[in-house]
Symmetry: C2
C-alpha cells in the first residue's frame, strides 16, 4: 500500500465471512518489503468458479492457464502473488505457476487444475519458484484472516484496501457475496493489474455463474478506464461454495436467479468503481452517460472515447466545463453521430443542445458541480435508444508524477 | 504564438517563393490580441488542388465544404482564420464560410467554390461574419508577405512557426515545394487543429495530386499523435500552380512523377514531425518502428497503440527503459502478436527478444539514449513483413499544465 491515500478512497466495508471460504496470508518476500504478499483462499469441495480475463494478447501464464481452468468450472483454492506479475517471463514463468498448483493440490488432495493462481507486480522477472513455494507452505498453515487483511495483501500500488458486499434472497435463503479487488491505473510503477475475487455461498451452476459474471463484467469492469491501458494480467474470478442451502441456480428460469444476478452486478459495479477511485493521481470520479446512440455497444465505445481522452480528463482536472473537448471525443470515436443533433451536459445541466451552444447557458451551476469530487457528464446523440455509462477519473499532475518521475 | 518555445523547436527554414502563389496577412481581430490572424493566399489561374481532412465526424463546416471543393480539383485562393475554429456552430458557422468564399470570389472573378477556407481556435462560437469580412477586405489589398509571416499568422497555441521545403527535377525542370503548418496537441486551450498547406510550381493533374497526397498523408500525418485526440478541423491542402514549365504529371507513368512524389512525401514528413516537435509539453521526440507484423496496416495500429499509451509516454518522460509498458501496449492493440516472439529495443539496443528479457541486457547505453531528446523505440513481432513508423512525444507535467491548469 502506498502512503498517500487517494482523496476518493472509501473506507473498507464490513464484509461478512462466506461459508466454505477461508482466506489466509503469508510472506513470500517477493520484494524487500515488510508485509504479507501471498494470499491463499481455501474453498470448500463443490465450489463453482467463473472468470473474466484481460484481452491483452501478451497476457501472463496465469491468465492463459486460468482461461483453461474456468472451463471445468470447479475450484478448491486461490493463490495471489503480489510484487511480481510473472508476465513476459516465458516457460520459466509458466513452470512457477504449475509448481504452485501442484503444491496446493497435494496439500488439499485435489487436482492441480482446481488451484487458481494470479500474480501482480513487476513484469519481465520470472516468479521466483523458491520464494513462491516457501510462501505457499507458510500460507497453507497460517491462521485464517479477515477480508481486509486479504484485500491489503493482494494490493501493490493501491492506496487503500477495496472490498464490496451484497446479499440476495434465493429460494427463501439469504445468500451473501463478499469480494475484494486490487488495482490503480494499469501500471505503477511497473506492470500493475486489476485482480478481483468474488466469493458467495450461493449454489450456482458454473456455466450460469460464467454467464452472469460475463454479463456483469461487460457493464462494470469493461466500462472503467483509468488511462486507456490494459494490463497483461487483469482477472476477475467468482467462486460459489454452494453452502447456502437453496436449490442450485442453473439459469434465469431458476427461482431467485434474477435477485442473485442483480446482487452480483451490484458487487461488480462497486468493485469497478473502487478501482477508478484509486486511479493514479485521481482527484475526481467521473461518470459518463451516453444516450441516444444507435446501439448500446456504440454508446459504450463513445463513452470510452470520452473517458480515454486526455483532453477531457485534463479539463475535468481543471474544473473546466469544456464541452468542446467532449464534442471532439464523440467525433473521433468512429461511431454514428450527427453533429447537429448532439447534446452535452455536466451535472444535469445541458451546455449544448442539437449541435449548438445553448443561448441561455448559465455556466455558474456547472462550474459549482465541477468543483466537487463526483462529476457527471451526459451526452445525448439524438439518434436511437442505445445507452451506456462508463466511469473514469481525471488526469492530473499526480499521474505524471507516479508514472514519469519515480526514476528521478 | 506562445512565449515558451518548445525545447524540440526547429528554426524556420529558408522557404523559396512559389511562382503563382502570393501570401498576404491581415488582422481580423478574432481575439483581443495584437497580431495578424487572417491569412490570404492568392493562387494563379490553373492551380490544381488536393486535400486530406480529419476523420472526426463532428467536423467543422470548413471541412465539410472543403471535402466537396477538392473533388473539382481547382483553386484560386486560400483563407485561414486563426482564433476561432467555427466548429459546432450550426448554420451560422456555415454562412460565415460561404460569405468569405463569395467575397474572395468576387474580388478575383472566380467561382466561390475555388476559394478554400480553414479556421482554427475556440469552438462553439460562430465565426463573427463582420470581423471576417473586414479582415478579408484588408488582406485582399495587403502587401505580399513572406512564408514565415504566413506561418506565424495561421498559428494559435504553436510555440514556433513551422515550414518545410523540397525540390525535384521533373522533365528537366526544377520544381519547388514550400509548405507551412500549424498544430500542437489537438486542443489547447480550446479546440486547436493541425492545418497544413503545401504549395508547388509543379504541373500536376488534380486526381494524381490527390492520389500522391493521400498516400503521403497515410504515412506521415496519419502516423503522428500527440495525445490520441483528433481535432474537428484537421486539414492539409496541396496546391500546384503548374508554372514550372514541364509536361503535366498525370500518373506515375509520367516522367518525373516518382521524383515529385518523393519530394511531396518528404515535405509531408517534415511537416508532420514539426507538429510533434511542438506537442503540448513535449520534451522528447519519439520514433516508434514496428517490424515483423502481419501487414503494414497492423504494424501501424500497433505503433499507434504504443504511441498513444500514457504509460509508455510517461516512461519516456521519466527516461525509463520500461519495455514492459511497450509489451502491454502491443498486447492491447488487438492485432496479431505472439508474446513469445516479441522483441523490444531502445536506441538500437534490444532489451527483450523472443518474449523474454535478454540475459546479458546492459541498460547503461539505453539509459544514455533516453537522456537525449530524440528517442527510438523498436518493436519486432516476428510474424511477417509488415512494418510502419509512427512518431509521438512524451507526456509530461507540461501537458497537464497546459490543458488542466489554465483556468486556475
Amino acid at each position: 500500500m502506498s502512503d498517500a491515500i487517494s482523496p476518493l478512497a472509501s473506507p473498507f466495508p464490513a464484509l461478512p465471512p462466506i461459508a466454505g471460504v477461508t482466506p489466509r496470508v503469508a510472506r513470500a518476500h517477493y520484494k524487500s518489503w515488510d508485509r504479507c504478499d501471498l494470499t491463499y483462499v481455501e474453498l470448500a469441495e463443490g465450489t463453482a468458479v467463473a472468470g473474466v480475463f484481460t484481452r491483452n494478447v501478451c497476457c501472463s501464464s496465469e491468465v492463459e492457464i486460468g482461461r483453461e481452468q474456468v472451463k471445468a468450472g470447479v475450484a478448491r483454492a486461490l493463490i495471489v502473488n503480489a510484487g511480481n506479475a510473472n508476465a513476459f517471463t516465458g516457460y520459466r514463468g509458466r513452470e512457477a505457476v504449475e509448481a504452485i498448483m501442484a503444491q496446493v493440490g497435494a496439500h488439499l488432495g485435489c487436482a492441480p487444475a482446481q488451484v487458481f493462481v494470479s500474480s501482480t507486480g513487476v513484469i519481465g522477472v520470472p516468479l521466483p519458484r523458491d520464494k513462491a513455494q516457501a510462501g505457499v507452505a507458510a500460507a497453507l498453515t497460517a491462521p485464517a484472516c479477515g477480508w481486509e487483511d486479504a484485500a491489503r495483501t493482494i494490493g501493490t500500488t493501491d492506496t487503500f484496501p477495496k472490498g464490496a458486499t451484497a446479499t440476495a434472497i434465493v429460494g427463501g435463503r439469504k445468500v451473501t457475496l463478499s469480494a475484494i479487488i486490487k488495482g490503480s491505473g494499469m501500471i505503477a510503477p511497473d506492470m500493475a493489474t486489476m485482480l478481483g475475487y468474488i466469493f458467495t455461498d450461493a449454489a450456482v451452476a458454473p456455466a450460469f455463474l460464467q454467464q452472469m459474471l460475463s454479463a456483469a463484467g461487460a457493464e462494470t469492469f469493461n466500462c472503467i478506464t483509468v488511462d486507456s491501458d490494459t494490463s497483461t494480467s487483469d482477472t476477475v474470478l467468482a467462486f460459489a461454495t454452494c453452502k447456502a442451502g437453496h436449490t442450485r441456480l442453473d439459469s434465469f428460469d431458476s427461482p431467485g436467479a434474477d435477485a442473485f444476478a442483480a446482487a452480483l452486478h451490484d458487487v461488480c459495479r462497486q468493485l469497478a468503481h473502487l478501482v477508478v477511485r484509486d486511479g493514479e493521481g485521481a482527484q475526481k470520479f467521473i461518470a459518463i452517460t451516453v444516450t441516444g446512440a444507435v446501439s448500446d455497444a456504440s454508446a459504450r465505445i463513445i463513452g470510452l472515447a470520452i473517458a480515454n481522452s486526455p483532453l477531457v480528463k485534463t479539463a475535468i482536472a481543471g474544473e473546466d466545463a469544456n464541452w468542446g473537448r467532449v464534442v471532439m471525443a464523440v467525433g473521433k470515436a468512429g461511431q454514428p453521430a450527427d453533429r447537429d443533433r448532439l447534446s452535452i451536459g455536466f451535472g444535469g445541466i445541458w451546455a449544448a443542445r442539437d449541435g449548438q451552444p445553448l443561448p441561455d447557458y448559465d455556466e455558474a451551476p456547472v462550474t459549482a458541480h465541477l468543483k466537487g469530487s463526483d462529476i457527471a457528464i451526459a451526452v445525448d446523440l439524438g439518434l436511437g435508444d442505445g445507452r451506456a455509462t462508463v466511469w473514469t477519473c481525471d488526469l492530473t499532475h499526480g499521474y505524471i508524477a507516479i508514472n514519469a518521475d519515480y526514476r528521478s
